[in-house]
């Protein structure tokens, strides 16, 4: 019933079994290697949160976008209290990831308690245009003991007047 073999599982010959067995063994080792790297990655996050950016002084800035826009986001730069803190040039798949609801961590650092100013500079351009627009906004916030998280949301990017909002 050769024709039925097209639809159900085909048993492997001896050589193929051996080869499949080798593949499965190596596949298992690759999965373990990925697990190691995953644990290293999680370990690094925990290490940084414990020692480099301890909770009491930690500030993290995130970026997200609400919707697709004919204008494209090029770069976002941020300054905290006048000091350049981060700058990121966005590639298309990062933009799509944010438009789908994902959150990009653009900056993590340390600041003291008190009043601070966050300056955000957004560069955008239209498709097929070399003209780029820049917009900058300042957001004032207070830092108290404990970590500070600020989300920057870009609602629309067009017409030189992006709708930028903040959430803590």
């Amino acid at each position: 019933m050769l024709w039925l073999l097209m639809s159900v599982w085909v048993p492997l010959g001896a050589a193929e079994e051996a080869s499949h067995g080798q593949f499965m063994q190596l596949d298992g080792q690759v999965q373990n290697a990925k697990k190691d790297v995953l644990e290293i990655s999680s370990g690094l996050i925990q290490f940084e949160e414990s020692y480099i950016y301890p909770r009491d002084t930690r500030i993290s800035i995130f970026l997200t976008m609400n919707q697709e826009d004919e204008h494209s986001l090029d770069t976002v730069s941020i300054k905290i209290d006048g000091k350049q803190s981060a700058s990121h040039r966005y590639i298309p798949k990062e933009l799509v990831a944010m438009q789908r609801g994902g959150l990009h961590r653009i900056y993590t650092g340390n600041i003291g308690n008190g009043e601070h100013a966050l300056e955000v500079v957004v560069s955008t351009s239209q498709p097929d245009s070399k003209v780029s627009r820049r917009s900058n906004v300042i957001y004032k916030f207070s830092k108290n003991p404990g970590e500070k998280n600020i989300e920057i949301n870009l609602a629309t990017l067009g017409s030189g007047n992006p709708g930028i909002s903040f959430r803590e």
């Binding site: 690759v30 644990e39 990655s41 999680s42 370990g43 990831a97 994902g102 906004v137 930028i164 903040f166």
Partner: protein, 498 residues
């Protein structure tokens, strides 16, 4: 999300607030989930899973995370625990996190869905017996949105474990399902035939064979059903019936070559030699690397020989031999290319990424000795997974290189006044550096082995084709000699006598 502050661009103005708007505050779990999603949407699964572990698991002292959340939503995308791991081919870990939910949850629907997902992973790993043991643990209902999925999976598990009777009962329930109509019908046909109800089975396959529409998946299923029935009737020595089904297979689909070959053989079986030329001459013009095409290159001169045209047959056997010789050179060049490492070099290019566009990027590679057979190789499940692993290892190696540099350069200026904190910091940094170093050695060793396996799979495939081609070359030579002799015997005498 309502904006709390709207700011004017281009001017450094103080922030304005909009009175009366309630702004939900950010919470830590939400941040990590949305960060995880940001990375997952870009297929950056190490970053996605590590954030998810922090968001939904309870990490302490290096223990495994314990998940208590089966689903979460980000934007309009719904994720299930284990999905990221499965996408990143970490099936072991996916099973571990699902088991942790199973252990923790008392909610029947969540437990049953976790069992379903576990069974699905086991089937993906080819462990049908284990999948059967686990799916039988479902107690009561599963969530409505996966009800049909669970039934279909169960039916596949039963079939893989030779319980075709059980599969029939389940598949009959799916015949009206929007998501599974065609697949349920096809598998029901196969299952019925396996329990001896051949007439009913063939009726179901016949229905599938008459599908129409634009959906390529359904149309491929239709072609597969018609091809299967065509060859079934050939086996049963009913070539006229076989031809009816084979002619339903699309000329442009993935099964067209096999169908045209079968259609020609049906004509031969019916004694209609000239009719066999119709599908076989079309087939003979296609890519000679395909086995059906090679057979048609031998079939066409065979027909002419049967039609008592040995001169034409000789010529066409000669052409077949030329095509086979060219193909043999191409195969040999490919084998050399793989042995020289060019196959792996091409696969290691940055443009080849393990995501949903992998096939497209492989197709876009310039045609050459090291690449033309790649898409054929991708039809093999093991090769596809092995290539995925190779590309993942390549990316892991780069990532670890970056981490090594980061750990050695980024923390030199850190000062901690507290002695115990300083000790903890030094210890952890040292451990991280060691882990990275060990991982680099391990990943690079695996990369080499995985690359070696890919080369071995490629060589095996090319050697198998070579072996078949040698047989076909031999048949072409024999056919050519025999036709040449016959052509000589029936040559009219020369009219030189006066």
């Amino acid at each position: 999300m309502k904006p709390g502050y709207i700011l004017l661009c281009g001017l450094c103005l103080p922030a304005l607030s909009i009175a009366g708007t309630e702004i939900p505050r950010l919470n830590e779990k939400d941040i990590y989930l949305r960060e995880a999603a940001y990375h997952a949407f870009q297929n950056n699964y190490i970053d996605a899973i590590s954030r998810l572990d922090i968001a939904t698991g309870k990490l302490s002292g290096g223990r495994e995370p314990h998940y208590d959340l089966l689903h979460f939503q980000v934007g309009s995308s719904k994720f299930s625990t284990g999905d990221f791991e499965v996408s990143y081919r970490m099936h072991q870990r996916a099973k571990e996190v699902l088991k942790s939910i199973l252990e923790k949850s008392e909610n029947k629907l969540i437990r049953n869905e976790s069992i379903y997902r576990l069974a699905r992973i086991l089937m993906q790993e080819g462990r049908a017996k284990d999948a059967l043991l686990i799916i039988e643990k479902i107690n009561g209902e599963v969530p409505e949105n996966i009800r049909d999925d669970e039934l279909f999976l169960r039916a596949r598990i039963y079939m893989a474990n030779d319980d075709f009777t059980g599969a029939v009962r389940l598949l009959q329930r799916l015949l009206d399902s929007d998501g599974y109509k065609g697949f349920a019908g096809y598998n029901l046909g196969v299952a019925l035939i396996n329990i001896g109800q051949e007439k009913q089975g063939l009726e179901h396959l016949d229905k599938i064979g008459k599908l129409s529409g634009d959906d390529e998946v359904m149309l491929s299923l239709m072609d597969k059903a018609n091809l299967a029935m065509g060859y079934r009737w050939m086996d049963a020595k009913q070539p006229a019936t076989a031809k009816k089904y084979l002619e339903r297979v699309r000329l442009s689909g993935p099964f067209s070559n096999k169908a045209m070959l079968g259609s020609g053989w049906a004509d031969i079986a019916l004694g209609k030699f000239e009719s066999a030329l119709a599908p076989w001459t079309v087939l003979a013009e296609r890519d000679v690397s395909d086995i059906s095409v090679q057979e048609s290159l031998l079939g066409v001169p065979y027909v002419y020989a049967k039609l008592n045209l040995p001169g034409k047959a000789t010529l066409l056997y000669g052409r077949a031999l030329e095509s086979f010789d060219k193909e043999m050179s191409r195969l040999d060049a490919s084998i050399n290319s793989v042995n020289e490492g060019k196959f792996l070099q091409i696969l290691s290019r940055d443009g080849i990424v393990h995501d949903e566009n992998l096939i497209t990027s492989l197709r876009a590679l310039p045609e050459g000795p090291a690449t033309w057979f790649l898409l054929e190789l991708m039809l093999s499940d093991d090769f596809g997974k092995a290539l995925g692993n190779y590309l993942d290892l390549r990316d892991l190696s780069k990532r670890l290189g970056g981490l090594d540099e980061h750990l050695n350069s980024s923390y030199s200026g850190v000062s901690l006044s507290d002695t115990r904190r300083r000790q903890g910091y030094d210890d952890q940094l040292r451990q991280l550096k060691k882990r990275v170093h060990d991982s680099i050695l391990s990943v690079n060793a695996l990369l080499s082995r995985q690359g070696g396996m890919l080369e071995m799979m490629a060589i095996d495939e090319l050697n198998q084709r070579r072996k078949l081609l040698l047989e076909n070359q031999s048949q072409a030579r024999i056919g050519m000699m025999e036709s040449y002799e016959r052509a000589g015997k029936i040559q009219p005498p020369s009219s030189g006598a006066k």
